[in-house]
């Protein structure tokens, strides 16, 4: 982002002039603007700090998702992996989100919501994916909201990180991509039941999103498009399993995706960050 560089540059310059030129108090305009400058700086700095926390959350969430993908029926490691994932998810709540909550304390929750929205969505993705894999009921935003409430220490009021329903739904839409990957992976390891279960889960989610009224959110329509592709991919996998038996499907899956018009470049998106 060019804007960030520019800003850093300006801040450096600004600090310099602030110390150098003492404000002429006889000029009311300059005096007032001195106060405004401080207020704006505080706002911008707080925003940047929250963005930074948000980025840490994004990275850790992606790692947790990666960890969850290592679950393999043959290795029989599910219990251990899930346990570790649970620990790491809790840790993100108790450290990174707590930091954001501290910055937000006493302020309008919606003012800085954009600053950590990518992190929050990624975290929702990791959390729901975790819940799905461990066979629990997928919770909604109120449960997560409860998790992100923090009791203040003495005298300081309790703080929280706002979870907007729309953010949660966007994160949940991302989860479908992970479930699709799990579906394909299970095909590779010959875990047929997981393939069918994932597909059914995706179809259910897809139907749910179809039923929503207009959300007035640009991101949502883009995510729904990807969601549809994920559903079709997992359906193709199930189709193959049924028609050719599980050995053939393993080899045929890729070609079949191409026939069905799925963009080969999109067929295996690696989200990076690992």
């Amino acid at each position: 982002h060019g804007g960030n560089n520019r800003r850093r540059h300006h801040r450096g310059g600004g600090k310099h002039t602030n110390t150098q030129a003492t404000v002429d108090e006889s000029n009311p305009i300059l005096f007032a603007f001195h106060g405004f400058a401080k207020e704006l700086d505080d706002k911008h700095d707080r925003y940047e700090r929250i963005v930074k926390c948000g980025r840490d959350i994004t990275i850790e969430s992606k790692r947790i998702i990666f960890l969850l993908h290592t679950i393999d029926q043959k290795k029989d490691n599910a219990g251990k992996v899930l346990e570790e994932a649970q620990l790491r998810l809790d840790k993100v709540c108790s450290t990174n989100f707590a930091e954001i909550a501290k910055e937000l304390s006493g302020r309008d929750q919606y003012q800085y919501a954009k600053a950590f929205s990518p992190g929050l969505q990624e975290f929702v993705e990791a959390l729901t994916f975790f819940e799905y894999i461990s066979g629990k009921e997928v919770s909604d935003w109120t449960t997560l909201q409860e998790k992100l409430k923090y009791k203040g220490e003495e005298e300081s009021p309790p703080t929280e990180c706002l979870v907007q329903p729309i953010e949660f739904m966007l994160g949940l839409a991302d989860t479908t991509g992970e479930v699709m990957r799990r579906c394909i992976n299970s095909l590779g390891s010959g875990d047929v039941d997981t393939c069918f279960a994932s597909c059914r889960f995706l179809q259910g989610l897809h139907a749910g999103y179809l039923g929503l009224g207009p959300t007035h959110n640009r991101e949502m329509s883009r995510k729904l498009f990807t969601l549809r592709q994920s559903v079709m991919k997992s359906e193709a996998v199930c189709y193959n399993l049924r028609v050719r038996g599980k050995e053939a499907a393993k080899w045929g899956a890729e070609e079949n995706l191409l026939e069905k018009g799925v963009d080969p470049a999109n067929a295996d998106i690696d989200e990076g960050f690992f």
Binding site: F33, F36, A37, E137, D140, Q203, G208, G211, L212, G213
Partner: protein, 237 residues
């Protein structure tokens, strides 16, 4: 096909969307009412470009409209739930900026100084700080003041046309102060910055007018520095 948990989430979310939609509709209506009054205030103030002698009347008329706006904002403050100002603030950002510029212009025409944030808040019925509730955002105030400068540049042109040669000199000094003020801010690459970048064109325009007037000796006065701002202005009106 859908498991009940998932279904539950979607139903809940849909309900959530619906209530938000209703509230937004209500906000939109109130904002439209205020916007109408703001437009009428803007029209009342247009008189300054055609008749210097009617400036104070124009200001009075505008102030009446501001009272209506104040009522509108009070209503808005009741509709918007506490702590959710920024959730819905997109609906009134532009409107508030416009109103700030009108209030600032009115007060400049009446008294010759920059309206403080507190005064704008008083006129429009808004709090100054977030903590106190429905408030006037600093950015909106700053952008509004910049919009006023554009109007002043136009006013400088027209006041010369109408034979008031002192006016541009006063405006020029006022805008120079503002320019210095805005330069003290560390701006991020956002709407405020974009609006600030346009300030230099207004400054330039006003300086050219001052130049034109001075070089022809149309400003009868002594050098700039000796004009006391207050009483000169009264003579001009």
């Amino acid at each position: 096909m859908q498991n009940p948990g998932i279904k539950n989430i979607f139903t809940k979310f849909q309900e959530n969307l619906n209530t938000e939609q209703e509230l937004r509709e209500e906000i939109r209506l109130t904002v439209r009412e205020i916007d109408q009054s703001a437009k009428e205030a803007a029209i009342a103030l247009q008189i300054i470009h055609t008749s210097i002698s009617e400036v104070s009347q124009g200001c009075l008329k505008a102030r009446e409209r501001f009272q209506e706006c104040q009522k509108g904002y009070r209503k808005l403050a009741e509709i918007v739930p506490a702590g959710q100002y920024f959730r819905y603030s997109d609906h009134w950002h532009f409107l508030t900026q416009k109103l700030v510029s009108l209030v600032a212009l009115t007060i400049y025409l009446e008294a010759g100084f920059l309206v403080s944030r507190e005064t704008v808040g008083e006129v429009l019925g808004l709090e100054v700080t977030q903590k106190n509730g429905f408030h006037l955002e600093l950015e909106d105030y700053l952008i509004g003041v910049l919009q006023m400068v554009t109007e002043l540049a136009r006013f400088a042109v027209n006041s010369v046309t109408l034979g008031d040669y002192q006016r541009p000199l006063m405006i020029s000094r006022f805008v120079a102060d503002l320019n210095a003020g805005y330069r003290m801010l560390n701006l991020k690459n956002d709407g405020l910055r974009k609006r600030f970048d346009a300030l230099k064109y207004d400054v330039k325009k006003i300086e050219e007018i001052v130049y034109d007037v001075s070089i022809r000796g149309l400003a009868r006065s002594a050098p700039l520095a000796e004009i006391p701002s207050g009483d000169k202005e009264e003579k001009a009106e």
